[in-house]
Symmetry: C2
Subunit: 328 residues, 2 copies
């Protein structure tokens, strides 16, 4: 076991009471400048480090945000992780990174978050049982779904306006003369995939333009294999809307490998506008998710709820924009 | 402030002392089965959650590993983050993710790690002042440099055998008939880039084969721009060794955009073997870093040192293997 300098040691050296030492380090406590100076000097001499755990026990608050993520290998989420971490640091919060390898948050992860008494939680590409969410609510721990919505609509969520965006994509492809289309979905049970399908198909149904839907999984490999399936049917569509960028790269690679020219033989549109979408290997036309704005909305909500918990529930949607490149 | 059920409440309901409640929840403490049962029942009824902060204060240990990372947008590190998180979870540890946007770990990050009394630290693509490392040592907190070495050799590190690997790459390219070569380095002050340069140049010097070195930065954009510089000199080498994969993609894209055929006009070798290296868009010949083995070595060391601190210092090197694809 490690030997640690305690508040008691500092109090002794400074010639003050132990509670005076505590008051120096815990926010909001009143303490005289003279005592503060004596305590700080003694603390420095002894190498005393105020214990965040002790502070947490007293204030019943931690300076930790739980960040739940599955698809860290999708550049969209890697970028989100980077920005969330930077921004939370600015606000004085650390990130407890919870990797979940199931689509649904596992009970042990929930236990971890509750045990560390996290100040707030961000859930990215994962789902959650209703009862689990209730546990956080019971403990007044604010929680945001980032780039996901739960169908129960009982939580705060921050997403791109996926329906409007995919309507725009459909209209754009029709304006480019597309007459038979394919939609390659993401994971079928995710809100993003459901909404992107809804907006896209709504416009095509309205215009009575034929289309086919292929379900995939938001991964490069999924996109690649789904494109191979499309190719096997020997009916190349005039355009394909792929529900995210990383999957669109798989589609493009599979088509090119089979001699399909893009955009001459078929047009491709992705979704996200991750950095790679602008690489010369792809130059993908896509919809830019306003990731910075989405993250700001998420962090602002959490900071407000941490300061004063209201349990506010709302679905925030931000617009993003269309980025035209060379695949259309 | 949140209302929390305390050990005192549980003790009262169970009709036992508060220290009995503590003994039920703190590892290694002796307590009768009867007491255990009464406490667990009372805890469930009240919704009591043993506080990890209280436990940490008593045992002076936490179940948190600090993971310091800069390049989370490089798929190599995203993959490492995923595997580290999974493996630490299996061992009962959570990950405090510390994103550093400087090459050197910032003092505030060090404070965070020390304040949370982390059980151990993994530093990936970042450097650290000698004095900072000493702070962890003073607190008996084991620390591993993952995919990095410090020149002071005063810390445990786990790397690929970069020198041997880059020697093999040089020999391979010579065996393929390369007669004038280019090396595109990573960040010049990183141990990985220094060692990859050392092994590569050693073989070429020995064989008296001419080569040029261009310094870059381990990013796609860096690779792209460096390749443009190489092209401007109008002396296309017969082969280019690029110090990591993501930078190699930038090199390939820049060359292709300028009509250079790969591997006909020049051969390209990368380093890492990230998933993307096998994508049809690149099919990159590269050196596979044995990431799983490297992570296992790192986690094993940390778990041993957490169980019983020895302060062991060693540079662990694992081999990896050559992966031949279509860019050579």
């Amino acid at each position: 076991m490690r030997e640690t300098v305690t508040a008691k040691d500092v109090a002794k050296l400074a010639g003050v009471s132990q509670s005076s030492v505590s008051r120096v380090y815990f926010e909001g406590a009143s303490v005289s400048e003279k005592t503060k100076k004596r305590v700080k000097e003694a603390a420095e001499e002894l190498g005393y480090r105020p214990n965040v755990y002790a502070r947490s026990l007293i204030t019943n608050q931690s300076k930790i945000i739980g960040l739940v993520m599955k698809g860290v290998q999708n550049p969209f989420y890697a970028q989100a992780l980077k920005r969330f971490s930077s921004l939370f640091k600015k606000h004085g919060y650390s990130v407890l990174f919870v990797y979940t390898n199931n689509d649904e948050i596992q009970q042990e992860d929930v236990e971890t978050l509750l045990n560390y008494n996290v100040a707030g939680v961000v859930v990215t590409d994962a789902t959650m049982l209703f009862s689990v969410g209730e546990e956080f609510k019971k403990n007044n721990i604010p929680l945001v779904f980032f780039n996901r919505k739960l169908s129960t609509e009982n939580f705060y969520s921050v997403c791109c306006n996926n329906i409007d965006a995919s309507r725009s994509i459909a209209k754009y492809l029709l304006s480019k003369g597309a007459s038979e289309l394919v939609l390659i979905t993401g994971k079928v049970d995710t809100s993003t995939s459901i909404e992107r399908e809804k907006g896209f198909c709504e416009v095509l149904d309205h215009q009575k333009v034929p289309y086919r839907i292929y379900n995939s999984d938001y991964t490069y490999e999924g996109g690649y294999h789904t494109a191979m399936t499309v190719l096997k049917e020997k009916r190349l569509p005039s355009a394909i809307f792929v529900a995210n960028d990383i999957m669109a790269f798989g589609v493009i690679d599979a088509l090119r490998k089979n001699g399909v020219r893009i955009p001459e033989d078929t047009k491709i549109v992705g979704f996200d506008n991750i950095d790679m979408a602008s690489w010369p290997a792809y130059e993908l036309t896509t919809w830019e998710q306003p990731i910075e704005e989405m993250i700001n909305e998420t962090v602002d909500y959490l900071m407000n709820e941490i300061a004063s918990y209201t349990g506010l529930v709302r679905d925030i949607e931000v617009d993003g924009k269309f980025i035209e490149r060379k695949t259309t």
